[in-house]
């Protein structure tokens, strides 16, 4: 007796999917982003061509240690960009994840759902 039909249909676990997504996200932000196109994006390009790019003002955040996806004090631009990317991913995960966890429906508080004692959110 090996795998039952049910375990076959279990496919990828939710944690496995989250972990794979996290690894992909960190590789994109931390490694691959250095090799992304450095051409101006659509809006910057149109601003140059049609003649309003000079109206751009420096953001008040240009003093940030991670301004322009570089890291202050790191002179290797590949490392500096990778660090900025990983820090950005971490901050988005903390802020976004925290917000979504706080907003989520809780089984016990859902209208008409009862206490739901059998609910086991960590099982999949």
């Amino acid at each position: 007796m090996t795998a039952t039909p049910e375990t076959v249909r279990r496919r990828v676990g939710r944690r496995g999917l989250l972990l794979a997504g996290l690894v992909l996200t960190l590789l994109l932000a931390g490694v691959a982003s250095f090799y992304a196109s450095s051409h101006p994006d659509g809006l910057e390009f149109v601003a140059e061509k049609t003649g309003f790019s000079a109206t751009e003002k420096d953001s008040a955040a240009t003093d940030s240690p991670f301004a322009d996806y570089q890291t202050a004090g790191i002179h290797d631009r590949r490392l500096g960009k990778g660090l900025a990317g990983v820090v950005g991913v971490g901050v988005v995960l903390l802020v976004g994840g925290g917000l979504f966890w706080a907003l989520r429906r809780r089984p016990a508080a859902a209208p008409g759902a009862g206490p739901g004692p059998h609910r086991d959110p960590g099982s999949d």
Partner: protein, 229 residues
Amino acid sequence: MHVPDGFLDAPTSVATAVVAVGGVAAALRGARRELDDRTAPMAGLVAAFVFAAQMMNFPVGGGTSGHLLGGALAAVLVGPSTAILCLTVVLLVQGLLMADGGITALGTNITLMGLIGVLVGWLVFRGVLAVLPKRVSSVPVAAAVGAFVSVPVAALAFSVLFAIGGTAPVSATAVATAMVGWHLVIGTGEALITLLVVGSVVAVRPDLVYGARGLMTGHELEIRSGATA
């Protein structure tokens, strides 16, 4: 499409900030219905993925590049209200930490990419899904069409804002034509990435994809204890 400070005048920036605050407030209420113990971690990951993917500029020819906006992608994966919050968190971190997109332009960027990008992507997705076969495999295709349309529409919305409150004496028609033209090309990249990512998640866990709800065949449905009162 991150609008820097200075492109739009103060009244226009204030107006878009008011729209953004209203939209985000509505999304904070709506997201409560979309998020639960299983989908909240997924939503955090989707926000982080959109941040990472927005660093990946791809060349679109003519010395121009584009990157994923991610509105349709996020809406299909975690629901439209949660997607608005995902994009808002990404744009806040980009604007405040990376100096990508202006500070006074935060409301503009949240309105263009968070509200318009997500809502257009979601509505087109729903419309296309309604005419496709009622199968889970239709979800990535409909998501790609929503993604494709959302990009030029957001570009057109910027052009309208520029016509109202642009600080440079430049022809609004010329800006609109160039913006929509280039973003039709960038939208193709948006569609491909969305097709790939939504297709991958749908292939392994369709039950975790918000936009696939109600499309799963019998044997894929999970029976969860405690679901009946």
